[in-house]
């Protein structure tokens, strides 16, 4: 049987969900027989491959780069999963929705301490912030949800196991709490 082609992405979040994924520890070794990591912050691939089986997306949609990557992942993945609270609810990332983008940038970079960040030498610009931070399912169709901040490794394992066994990803009551 061919291995499940798994991609991950890190949008507007803290990478805690990816850390929790790594906390699967020795179980990752056991899973490596049935799962192939094809894209994401944990592997060295420059492009999203065209044939992803499962995409785990961490973080909320906060800027144009997040938006484009999410749309690309959706396009190329059979199953797309909102991975963690930021992806599902906006969580801490979306707390900036209390302010307009202009007010936010003014408060942080003009009124606040420090200086305005500059573009790099190549002249590439920082990705533009969206007016509001959005959960994934308000941007693309999402097939399943793994709540938690971060989701405990047991939740991630339960989801991956369901996928490997061809079952829908539906976590138990005690595994689907937010927070």
């Amino acid at each position: 049987m061919s291995r499940i082609r798994l991609a991950t992405a890190w949008l507007g979040g803290c990478s805690g969900c990816h850390m929790s994924f790594l906390d699967l520890g020795e179980q990752l070794v056991a899973l490596s027989g049935s799962i192939e990591m094809v894209y994401g912050p944990l592997v060295d691939a420059k492009q999203v491959p065209d044939d992803v089986d499962v995409a785990l997306i961490e973080g909320a949609v906060a800027n144009m780069e997040n938006l484009e990557l999410l749309q690309e992942m959706r396009h190329k993945s059979k199953l797309l999963i909102s991975f963690g609270d930021c992806a599902i609810t906006g969580n801490v990332t979306s707390l900036r929705n209390f302010f307009s983008v202009d007010d936010l940038l003014t408060a942080v970079y003009q009124a606040g301490p420090g200086s305005i960040p500059r573009s790099d030498e190549d002249g590439a610009v920082l990705p533009e912030l969206l007016p509001r931070v959005l959960p994934l399912h308000q941007v693309v169709e999402v097939d399943a949800f793994i709540p938690g901040c971060p989701p405990e490794p047991e939740r991630i394992l339960a989801a991956i196991t369901a996928i490997m066994e061809g079952r829908p990803v539906q976590l138990n009551e005690d595994q689907r709490t937010f927070g």
């Binding site: 609270d85 609810t89 969580n91 801490v92 959960p135 949800f145 709490t177 937010f178 927070g179």
Partner: protein, 240 residues
């Protein structure tokens, strides 16, 4: 007390006159979810989670404030009711900014538990992100309006059990807010006795002990029925 017979989920059930549908159902182990209801407090029927279908009624009725009556035919978990309950909790989660991960009551919250129980793994509505204030002017306790679900347990316990009536509600609909002493900062309240009953009964992290950080606010609700029972016994002694 007169006995009555009614039907819940196609099962004939005996009950006592005066019991609510919720009481009868819970006695029978039928799990109707609630949020504003708390044994020992007067019912307000505000959260609508306990809505049940009553044969002959054009709309669902709240089980906590509807008295069981002879011959009633009740359904507690139709597809429609289950969907309504999910929707109600999703609306609560969308209306204010709960952000469980950074809440003092993360892991001990009735709203969080209820959402998981009802199968809510995401919210279909837009989050409003209203920026509501936090009142931290009281010495020992604080109120975060962003996490309030307007269950009114604080209002009820303060009035009926503590007898202080510090809390009220200002505004209508989604602009409603809990207010102390007719809308003053809680710290300036002269009626509040700092007893903390409201804090202990609050289902979410809206009312909390200052100094508690994420997940540290564990509430103890057993005091309510202990106090009420002691009062009942004292009243019995006086009248004897």
């Amino acid at each position: 007390m007169a006995a009555i017979t009614l039907t819940i989920n196609n099962e004939l059930i005996g009950a006592r006159q005066g019991q609510t549908i919720l009481d009868v159902a819970r006695e029978r182990g039928i799990d109707i979810p609630t949020l504003c209801h708390l044994e020992g407090l007067e019912e307000v029927g505000g959260c609508r989670l306990c809505l049940v279908e009553l044969q002959g009624s054009p709309r669902p009725v709240p089980a906590c404030v509807t008295k069981a009556a002879e011959g009633m035919e009740i359904t507690t978990h139709s597809d429609k009711l289950v969907e309504y309950r999910k929707m109600l909790v999703e609306l609560l989660l969308a209306e204010r900014t709960h952000t469980c991960s950074i809440c003092v009551q993360n892991g001990n919250c009735e709203l969080q538990t209820l959402a998981a129980k009802l199968g809510i793994d995401h919210v279909r509505f837009d989050y409003l992100h209203q920026q509501l204030p936090m009142d931290a002017s009281r010495e020992r306790f604080a109120l975060d309006h962003n996490r309030c679900v307007l269950c009114l347990r604080c209002v009820r316990v303060c009035d009926a059990v503590e007898g202080a009536h510090t809390w009220d509600v200002r505004g209508r609909g989604s602009t409603s807010r809990i207010v102390a002493d007719l809308d003053r900062p809680w710290g300036g309240s002269t009626s509040c006795t700092d007893c903390g009953k409201c804090v202990q009964l609050c289902p979410t992290g809206a009312l909390f002990r200052k100094g508690a950080t994420v997940g540290e606010m564990i509430k103890e609700r057993g005091f309510l029925n202990r106090i009420l029972e002691r009062r009942r016994l004292a009243a019995q002694r006086r009248s004897a």
